[in-house]
Symmetry: C2
Subunit: 247 residues, 2 copies
DNA sequence: TATTCGCCTTGACTAGCATCAACCAGTCCA
DNA sequence: TGGACTGGTTGATGCTAGTCAAGGCGAATA
């Protein structure tokens, strides 16, 4: 699976030692534009583990960028089945699905104590009209989400349990690595059931498949602590079923 | 399944007896804005059945709105597996996934002789800066695509073959009805295999499930000609597993 | 009219994942 | 300290949908 499977729109950060607000900014703005944007982004909000950032059906006003922590977004069916639609880590955006109907289309739940920046959408929209690169950035972010979703469809529609899980682990690994964390040694923030919901599998299948990978020596599993001992073996498993990229 | 499962961004039409260009417009523009937009939308392009509108990997320049006809969009994995990501009918948009990387992320193929309007994205973007309602319209279109994709994930991740197919038929029915066609008597434009690819099923399963529905008296199947004789039975089947909508 | 081809249907069999159930480890709380 | 609870693992079994295969129908072609 390519990098984009779960790879949410990362908002590029313009400096490393940055204020709360600067974290949520795209690059390429001049000083004046930066301060305009800065005025629009609201103070960040803290959430405890398990807390809802927003719920499906609530009025939509803002997008949210993860500053620290970890989230899941999910849609629920009428009879209570839950489909996790994504996991978001720092720099990634939530709430784009709310624009269409002015109502949030999914739940966003913190999987650990977290902090988000709030981006009031009206203001971002009007600011986009003044700053073309910002407008373009937003179109790209939304498009990236669509590409990610297409890759999830490919995963859910075509791949076997082992391929799904391997793709999932590699995707997490890549996103952590791009944030400066260890690529091959990490802690899962979500339960087996949540992984299963995202991948279209039952929790037992997730558990069994992890055990199988461990038994082959490809990974080490200690509860939520995962080590990728042979990431290439995982890559071999998903090569072929990931999206083809023409050049 | 709710209306949005496959329901692509319909571009609202401002008048009924309209020119080529007017078909692709959103509402709410004044005369002057209309003519600006009119200047940007290129003459429509005709495609024969089986022809590619664009291919994954090609440079992205424009979005395309279906004027007449029927399309599928699909992504291919490296080993040749194909996942149909959607079917588009008149008024629906294709190409939104190309914005993120300036490269088309899927193939778009005409399933019958068709006609599209081309919307050069650069120009639409700059026009959006001048016409706020147009900019907002585009954000909403992209968001709607994201919502649709989430619903497909719910379908692929949680639903059984019968539920998927019932949801598919009801969705098609609704979209046809909203265009003034008969809701319960229509011709499928795609093969069993394409339906299966979209729904994460094999063509034999699609065929068997259609036969099962027919045997129960819920639908009539004559090759690609489908009648929904008891649409409520299909609705019962999917009620529960469609997305919950809070109020 | 016969021929071929694409698309579909149906049957028999199988594989992969779900389901059901038992049990274990860690954690919270009384 | 003990009990209950949550989340995870593993095994046994069953069912759904996939696979393989044969054959039908209609359209296009010669």
């Amino acid at each position: 699976m390519n990098d984009q499977l779960l790879h949410h729109h990362t908002l590029k950060v313009s400096c490393s030692s940055c204020s709360l607000r600067e974290l949520c900014l795209p690059v390429g703005l001049n000083r004046d534009e930066m301060s305009q944007l800065d005025a629009v982004i609201r103070q960040s909000r803290r959430l405890k583990r398990g807390e809802y950032l927003f719920r499906s059906g609530e009025g939509f006003r803002s997008l949210y960028a993860v500053r620290t922590g970890f989230f899941k977004t999910c849609v629920a069916s009428q009879d209570g089945r839950e489909q996790v639609t994504g996991f978001q880590m720092s720099g990634e955006l939530m709430g784009l699905d709310g624009i269409s109907a002015n109502v949030h289309g999914c739940d966003a739940i913190a999987l650990e104590d977290s902090e988000v920046c709030e981006l009031p959408f009206n203001r971002m929209e009007s600011l986009g009209r003044e700053i073309p690169s910002l407008q373009h950035h937003f179109f790209r972010l939304m498009s990236r989400e669509i590409v990610r979703d297409q890759n999830v469809m490919l995963l859910l529609g075509n791949m076997k349990a082992e391929e799904r899980l391997a793709a999932f682990l590699l995707n997490l690994s890549g996103r952590l690595a791009s944030r400066g964390f260890a690529a091959n040694d990490f802690i899962l923030r979500m339960s087996r059931e949540e992984i299963g919901s995202f991948l279209g599998l039952k929790l037992e299948t997730v558990s069994r498949t992890l055990s199988k990978f461990a038994q082959q020596g490809w990974i080490s599993v200690d509860h939520k602590h995962i080590k990728l001992d042979q990431p290439d073996s995982l890559k071999t498993l998903v090569s072929g079923c990931s999206q083809a990229h023409s050049h």
